[in-house]
């Protein structure tokens, strides 16, 4: 069914921090709109100073994360036809900023914590010679992690951060994916297991898979990244045979 001409109500967070409140708007819809189009229409027709962060409007940059009707999603990839369907007739569609991060204004939050955490991760450390050789199967394991668009919806959803605010103890799903990407790179020689256990607190994750559910890139964050890292930590710290191997050879175990 075409939505063209339909008058749709919205309720959107306006203001800053503690004093922010929901405000109501109404616009006329066009065919094929996504939620971000509606926010832009409100901006261009009613409220020029409505704050919203966005860049590509094509699901590639991960800037326009928000909670639409309570579900964390990218505004640019959420079709109005779906949202109208899931919203009770006559009720407004609700758009709020991500809850886990400090609020800046309207739909914008301060996500700088993710960048600070990324800085603490040791970069790739591979051979000095150019023309690295590895096959497509080895590439496949890592490429999935590199599809991350840094929308931080996973971080926003993670209980450890959203509900328990363990921002000092836990790296969060996005940066654990980054760690997995390096750890599983076929030619990387760096050892990051000690900090994955300590500073990055991988053991805080209790595998509820909420992060995986909201990932717009479809990355198997829990199964393919976090659990793999957890296993490596277990092997390192709790497996006596591996401990002996490392003491004797002074080498990291290859998987």
């Amino acid at each position: 069914m075409s939505l063209k001409g339909k008058i749709q109500k919205f309720t959107i967070t306006r203001g800053e921090g503690e004093t922010a409140e929901l405000a109501d708007y109404e616009i006329e819809l066009d065919e094929g709109m996504v939620v971000l189009d509606c926010v832009h229409r409100i901006q261009h027709e009613q409220e020029p100073d409505l704050a919203v962060r966005w860049n590509c409007k094509a699901g590639k940059c991960g800037s326009c994360s928000a909670e639409i009707n309570g579900r964390p999603r990218l505004m640019c990839m959420t079709r109005m036809s779906d949202v109208v369907d899931e919203t009770e007739d006559g009720k407004p569609i609700e758009i709020r900023p991500m809850k886990a991060f400090p609020h800046v204004k309207d739909l914008v939050t301060d996500v700088s914590w993710n960048y600070e955490m990324a800085q603490k991760i040791k970069p790739i450390n591979g051979p000095d010679e150019m023309n690295w050789e590895f096959n497509q199967n080895e590439a496949d394991r890592v490429q999935q992690f590199r599809e991350c668009i840094e929308c931080f919806l996973c971080v926003n959803t993670c209980h450890v951060l959203r509900d328990h605010s363990l921002f000092d103890e836990f790296a969060g799903p996005r940066n654990l994916v980054r760690l997995a990407q390096y750890e599983m790179h076929p030619l990387d020689q760096e050892d990051r297991i000690p900090e994955i256990k300590k500073e990055f607190g991988v053991e805080y994750c209790n595998i509820t898979r909420c992060c995986t559910e909201v990932c717009p890139a479809g990355i198997q964050i829990t199964d393919d990244a976090i659990i793999q890292l957890k296993e490596r930590v277990v092997d390192r710290y709790y497996d006596p045979l591996q401990r002996i191997w490392r003491t004797l050879t002074r080498q990291k175990v290859r998987y």
Binding site: G32, D49, C61, V104, P123
Partner: protein, 617 residues
């Protein structure tokens, strides 16, 4: 009212954090310069992230017959012989090592059976040449540079917008910015400034660009006294989405055609066979059978023994062809052409074109593994930009450098797909290297308070209005006007009208009312962006009006053929004098003899292949 501002001192300031800016900053920092990046967005969000198909470099992994000379030839030919040949030479020679270096910094490109970086076919490239990661190569490139860049000791100012370049006499000595989040002001002293701000395509309503593409760097350079060239040449990528309306313009990668995608009209004809221009005659398959054989060979990992499908002609050619088909009444239901890849099967499509599959499924409800896409031209890239020295990337103003899309020269009248990502890393590195080198012998410039104050006054101007038009509406209308009058096909009458319209927009933008808050106020940002958008639109229109011929990304309905004798040898140069934008013509530089020999060598090789494959040619 005096406004406070914060002061900073750096050796090198890079404006922009896309591929070119990050690469420049990494090089500057590695050369020992105290370096900062100023970016309008968060790190890793710049327009580079949207690049899909790949990064062109003659690695010779997928086809050993490739080499720098062939890449050089293809780039020059694709540019309709207007590119700066010295840039094209550096680019072709240095791109392979820049790509291999990305791999050492963590990029994981798709592999060949021999475990090396794989390469795909693209329009205008004689051999498979594009290093790629599925159809999300830009993401790989920017993330790799981002992850390298944060460990190089670079200071990164996120969500800061630069509005003014500071000058001391004839040289650039820094810049002034506001923060998007708080609306505070900041002045940076810098011995060298590198512009890496990307393009201008947001001035067209159907475009593939992100909001950032408002021509900031083009305008900053122009205002500071630097010269621009080739601004009439705008690449309308042939395949943007056309339906539904809200996604119109979003890019559909050329990789679809590189993987064997077929373009058809409403009558089911493979119309590209009818649009092969004279300069490409004999280079492409002449029958559907030859075309299919090429796809079959490429798909099975063999070296091609026949010529490529005409769908892989350069972007300017394919865009105009689609435009003509629609005009002739043979368009798809929503005014485009059909692009079909479903014959490759679901498994191959999910592997090679995953984000296209996702994009169409999510945004248009189309499963491209089963049905054709509808596609049409979208404003994608500006070949024109700030004139730079080929070796150092310094502009015509001392202390100011430019690299990436904001710079000009490499692409002439038309850019080949895949030559943008390679442009970013080749010339980003050069810009960073030379900007750092220059800064070594210079004293730290003093920040001129009066210039900063006047820049701040300009930035605050929109708040002096008490009520007025919503900047967003002016923005929308400006883009519609440019789309209608300075689009893919141009005429003198419409260009004249556009020039007049732009004067009105310049008046209207001054009355825009963004509300009163300086905190993350998109309306205020847009009101300021409108000034550069009007100026770069004017620049592009003026250049288009002046070039009375059709060539590459500039098509005049009233001058439909190339004028090789005059315009084939001449460049439009844009500059500002006494606050007025002006244009003059300059002859292009004669190519070095050894490069002419290289071109002839490649031409002979291509003719030989055509003779083998086509018989009658």
């Amino acid at each position: 009212m005096t406004e406070d501002y914060k002061k900073y001192e750096y050796d090198v300031i890079v404006i922009g954090a896309g591929g070119a800016g990050l690469r420049a900053a990494i090089e500057a920092a590695r050369s020992g310069a105290k370096t900062a990046i100023i970016t309008k967005s968060l790190l890793g969000k710049a327009h580079t992230v949207m690049a899909e198909g790949g990064c062109a470099a003659a690695l010779q992994n997928a086809d050993p017959r490739d080499g720098w000379k062939v890449h050089f030839h293809d780039t020059m030919k694709g540019s309709k012989w207007l590119a700066n040949w010295q840039m094209a030479e550096y680019h072709a020679k240095e791109a392979p090592d820049r790509v291999r270096e990305l791999e050492q910094w963590g990029a994981v490109f798709d592999r060949t059976p021999k475990n090396l970086i794989n390469q795909r076919n693209f329009g205008g490239h004689t051999f498979p040449r594009l290093a790629h990661v599925g159809d999300a190569t830009g993401l790989e490139l920017i993330r790799t540079l981002q992850e390298r860049g944060i460990h190089e000791g670079i200071d990164i100012f996120m969500e800061y917008t630069v509005r003014h370049l500071l000058k001391e006499g004839d040289r650039v000595t820094g810049c002034v910015a506001y923060t998007r989040v708080d609306g505070d002001f900041h002045a940076f002293s810098a011995k060298s400034v590198v512009l890496a701000t990307g393009g201008i395509t947001r001035v067209w309503s159907v475009c593939s660009g992100s909001w950032e593409y408002t021509g900031d760097g083009h305008a900053l350079a122009l205002w500071a006294g630097a010269e621009l060239r080739d601004m009439e040449f705008v690449q309308f990528h042939p395949t943007g989405m056309v339906w539904p309306p809200s996604v119109r313009g979003i890019l559909v990668t050329e990789g679809v055609r590189g993987e064997g995608g077929r373009l058809t009209n409403s009558e089911g004809d493979r119309f590209m066979f009818d649009y092969v221009p004279e300069m490409f005659a004999g280079d492409h398959a002449e029958t559907i059978e030859e075309s299919d054989q090429w796809v079959e060979e490429i798909v099975s990992g063999k070296l091609a023994t026949v010529r490529r499908p005409p769908e892989l002609l350069t972007r300017d050619v394919v865009s105009k062809a689609i435009n003509s088909e629609v005009k002739a009444g043979r368009g798809s239901p929503h005014g485009g052409a059909f692009l079909d890849i479903s014959h490759r099967g679901e498994e191959a499509i999910l592997k090679k074109l995953p984000s296209m599959h996702h994009q169409f499924k999510e945004l248009a409800g189309v499963d491209i593994s089963k049905e054709p896409m509808e596609v049409g031209p979208t404003a994608h890239y500006v070949m024109g930009g700030v004139i730079v020295n080929a070796e150092s990337q310094e502009t015509t103003i001392s202390g100011l450098y430019a690299c990436g899309e904001v710079a000009s020269g490499l692409h002439g009248a038309n850019r080949l797909g895949g030559n943008s990502l390679s442009d970013l890393i080749v010339f980003g590195k050069r810009a960073g290297e030379f900007a750092a080198k220059r800064s070594k012998d210079l004293a730290q410039p003093v920040i001129d308070d009066s210039q900063v104050k006047s820049a701040i006054t300009d930035m605050l101007e929109p708040f002096n209005n008490e009520g007025g038009e919503n900047p967003g509406l002016i923005y929308d209308e400006l883009r519609e006007m440019m789309q209608a009058k300075v689009g893919i096909i141009r005429t003198k009458d419409e260009l004249d009208e556009a020039i007049e319209d732009l004067k009105t927009f310049d008046t209207r933008r001054k009355s825009a009312y963004p509300g009163s808050s300086r905190k993350y106020n998109s309306g205020w940002h847009q009101a300021l962006d409108l000034k550069n958008m009007v100026d770069v639109s004017y620049v592009a229109t003026l250049a288009a009006l002046t070039r009375e011929e059709s060539r590459g990304g500039h098509t005049r309905d009233d001058f439909p053929v190339p004028d090789d004798e005059y315009w084939g040898e001449t460049l439009n140069i844009i500059y500002m004098e006494d606050g007025e934008i002006k244009i003059r013509q300059e002859a292009k530089e004669e190519m070095r003899d050894d490069l002419k020999d290289a071109i002839n060598e490649v031409k002979a090789m291509i003719a030989e292949r055509a003779a083998e494959a086509g018989g009658e040619n």
